[in-house]
Amino acid sequence: MARGYSPNRLPTRRNAELGYIVFATLVVAAAEAIIEITRDSQLTAHVATYALVALATGVVANLAIRRWASYADPLLVPCAVVLVGLGLVMIHRIDLGLAQQASDAGRTYQGAGAASQVVWVVLGLVAFLGVLLIIRDHRVLQRYAYTLALIGLFLLLLPAVLPASMSEINGARIWIRIAGFSIQPGEISKIALTVFAAAYLVAKRDVLSLAGRRVLGIDLPRGRDFGPLLLAWLISIGVLVRDKDLGTSLMFFGLFVVLLYVATERISWVIIGLLLFVGGCYIAYQIFPTVKERVSVWLHVFNYMQDQGYQLSQSLFGLGTGGLFGTGLGGGNPDLVPVAKSDFILSAFGEETGLFGLVAILAIYIVFISRAFATALAVRDSFGKLLVTGIGFSFGLQLFVVAGGISRLLPETGLTTPFLSYGGSSLLANFALLALLIRVSDAARRPPTTPPSAVTTVSGPVPVPDRDPAGPPTGTLSTGGPA
């Protein structure tokens, strides 16, 4: 490709991205500084540490993108960097609180905290680089759709098969624990299943959009096409019942239904999907006492304040104490909420930065998610559209489920907050998803490499259905063939 060849090529915006990353780093440094001054009236090396981790992550990502995906959206990485950095700072702050709790009780605190999260950030960055390097064109993934589906399902169902001693932490069987390590396979299988769903639906979209009968103004699909939806439904209800994990169940099924809707362009799938899910939850509620108990704790949390409702009621106390402006970073007691570092990190922000701070954090996610949808709109191939819509939607749904869970909008789930929460599997998975987003957004924004005459024949991105999911990778996109 020749420089200056196309008069209307998009700027790469890599320097702007770097600028945002530096700004994100300053936010992280300021947050840590406030915590340290509030708690000990002095600054320590941690201020530099976490800001540098965030900066290094961002700069490495920026350099990699310059090299391998130079047209990618410039807002995605800065959003991730500020979230990861703020997560580190809050995890460190909760460490301080827990250490103090322990010392007050005459013990020493030995939990894993910010230091090990730094390690996970580095590994997450490695995953990011790996995905970016290996997958030079996202369409290649379509070829491995079924392999990925098998891996995803295997990982999703594995904890249910494993003995509880190897899979259960805090009552939820969503882990694989081997030799001191514990990973949440659901996070990894989420990626695999997103890729599979996108590839599968692109391949089958014609069949699935064929109308069956029309009932009450809704075109119902043909009965024989219900198969995939029913399978997805069965698996998600199975996860709900077996693993007591409403979050993963909701994520998995919601993702599938939304992609089905986007692929087939038919709202009837959404309605059927919703009815199926609600019906499934209702049946599960009627049959399984554990599900019933969870709902009961959710509805009457203060009656269970001392046992099953302890975590949620502490979270609500924290949010309420934070109020509009918060207690100030370092000025609250977010460590009173059990597992605040992972599932309930948003309530820690809610307590110390108040409603304003929490909404600001949600706003960062909203920017991130909106960039994903913008990419989905801009990219030209159907698989890319579905994949990125799936990623954007899963971030949005996950955030909804987590933020709704800590504030009692929804029953509690065991999901983590993307990028912010403590946890290796979650960080690795989210960095991998970030790399996929970067890859697709690079494809979406990269100017055509064919001669200008070809460009002028196509005005704007034209969604041409990709009918060759197993087609050879092309390395760069061209507007000539099926895009």
């Binding site: 103090q100 809707y261 106390f317 007691n333 954007g392 939607f393 949005g396």
Partner: protein, 500 residues
């Protein structure tokens, strides 16, 4: 597909909106109720990060409770100077068991959470100064308090002293006492240990005998019956019935005088003499003659009306009970049956007589200050009621003087050289009588009085549970009057009153 993608993005937007609306609900609309929930430890933990204000004796300027910086997680430690001496008033400030007495009643000022500190808090926020709590200045007089504590000497009992002209509480002691520092420490194990030790102590040091426990007052109640009689037109020299034994109407029970003594001539006595020697039959008959409504309304005017009040610490309501029939009225009139009063109430009786028949509302807090020592509020004396006219109060004072100063009076042990003291003793049965005439529980010993009689500066009530050390042989005159004397003497000399 793009139309669908846009719709999905709108749907995610709606999800985000739902979350944000819900957060508004939780953090703003319901925030206060979550924050103030009793199970929320955050507010308590937060209080320890702020320096709690001091509790100070107004007269001497002595801080009897203040918070000092430590290196602990809970930054400030509550300390008490002479903790057991002032515990009845200060209460404790415990991370495990909450606050009591002034620490509780004035918590909003001491902790700095009071709404009146709003501007101050805002200034602190802007100037970066550490916020701290305000101070509470008490009316307690160091000398009176110390004398009361020492005179009780660890016996189960209480002393309350009032300034009759203002209602200010000069002393309030309940013994045996406890050390609030042990319950306000930072060691949870230490607090629990001390708490359990106090709970298991048979002398029950944690109960506040001065303010929140009520006891039968015995003959102290005769002051109120005397007041009712004076109001009904009697005078100290009026002759009233005083038989050796009085058969209670509708029963075969015979009411007799203390140790079966004869009051005067065995059939009648003067009102002043009946009070002086504490003649039971005379007052039982007098009460019946006055009728329930007169006795009850007079008791009510003295503050005995069955309702709790605060000074600002909680004070249990005193009561004369239901008074179901004439026999009950007879027993009520000598302070038995269902009459129950607090030692503070006993002091209020004398204070009303001393203050020319006008009863002032008791108060413990002289002044509330902000962290910058600026006055938030100052106590102003409030009239509670007017149980007697000034001339009736003079007559009753003469009668009570006779109790202490005359050769036959039961309260002679309260005499102070050079100062005329007025008062009334009480010996209150509190349990069934045994076959030999003694009681299963030794009687309570009481004294309520004031000094100097001509121009009263202090009204005091002394209560000794089950007679203190004298046991069955106790009387108010024997056990309680000497305590009252020491308290009055200590206070009067501290304010420079040497004689009449």
């Amino acid at each position: 597909m793009n139309r669908q993608i846009r719709r999905v993005s709108v749907f995610v937007g709606i999800l985000m909106l739902a979350v944000i609306l819900n957060l508004n609900w939780v953090q703003v609309l319901h925030g206060t109720s979550y924050r103030d929930n009793a199970a929320n430890q955050r507010v308590a933990l937060d209080d320890y990060k702020r320096q709690r204000g001091s509790i100070v004796l107004q007269g001497s300027g002595t801080a009897i409770s203040e918070s000092v910086v430590t290196k602990d997680a809970l930054t400030y430690l509550r300390t008490y100077q002479n903790g057991p001496l002032y515990a009845t008033v200060t209460g404790f400030n415990s991370i495990l068991y909450g606050n009591t007495e002034i620490e509780s009643a004035e918590d909003s000022v001491l902790s700095g959470n009071d709404d009146r500190f709003f501007v101050q808090r805002l200034t602190n926020l802007l100037t970066g100064r550490d916020p701290r709590g305000g101070n509470v200045l008490l009316t307690i007089n160091k000398q009176a308090q110390t004398a009361a504590y020492q005179a009780l000497g660890g016996r189960r009992g209480a002393v309350v002293a009032l300034d009759p002209a203002t209602g200010a509480v000069l002393a309030a002691v309940s013994t045996p006492s406890y050390d609030p520092a042990k319950l306000s420490s930072h060691s949870t194990t230490g607090i629990k240990k001390a708490w359990n030790a106090y709970l298991n102590d048979k002398d029950n040091p944690l109960s506040n005998r001065a303010f929140t426990e009520t006891y039968p007052p015995g003959s102290v109640f005769k002051v109120i019956v005397s007041a009712a009689a004076l109001k009904a037109g009697k005078s100290p020299s009026s002759v009233i019935a005083a038989p050796n034994a009085l058969t209670l109407p509708g029963t075969s029970t015979q009411l007799r005088n203390f140790a079966g003594e004869q009051c005067a001539n065995g059939s009648t006595d003067t009102l002043i003499h009946a009070l002086t020697i504490s003649c039971n039959t005379a007052f039982a008959q007098l009460g019946m003659d006055l009728g329930t409504s007169r006795v009850r309304s007079e008791a009510d005017l003295f503050g005995i009306n069955d309702s709790d009040f605060t000074i600002p610490v909680r004070v249990a309501g005193s009561t004369i009970g239901p008074v179901v029939d004439k026999a009950a009225l007879a027993q009520t009139s000598i302070g038995q049956r269902d009459v129950r009063i607090t030692p503070l109430q006993a002091a209020m009786i004398s204070a009303a007589v001393a203050n020319q028949g006008t009863l002032l509302t008791p108060y413990l807090v002289a002044e509330e200050q902000g962290p910058n020592l600026a006055t938030l509020s100052k106590a102003t004396p409030q009239i509670l009621s007017q149980p007697l006219s000034p001339s009736q109060a003079d007559q009753l004072t003469t009668m009570m003087e006779s109790v202490v100063q005359s050769a036959q009076g039961t309260g002679q042990a309260a005499q102070i050289p050079g100062i005329t003291v007025a008062g009334k003793t009480g010996t209150a049965d509190n349990g069934p009588q045994k076959a030999d005439g003694t009681y299963i529980n030794p009687p309570h010993a009481w004294f309520s009085g004031f000094a100097p009689a001509a121009r009263p500066r202090i009204a005091v009530a002394v209560f000794l549970e089950n007679g203190g050390v004298a046991g069955n042989e106790t009387t108010g005159g024997l056990a309680a009057a000497p305590v009252a004397k020491q308290v009055m003497q200590a206070y009067l000399s501290s304010i420079g009153v040497k004689g009449n």
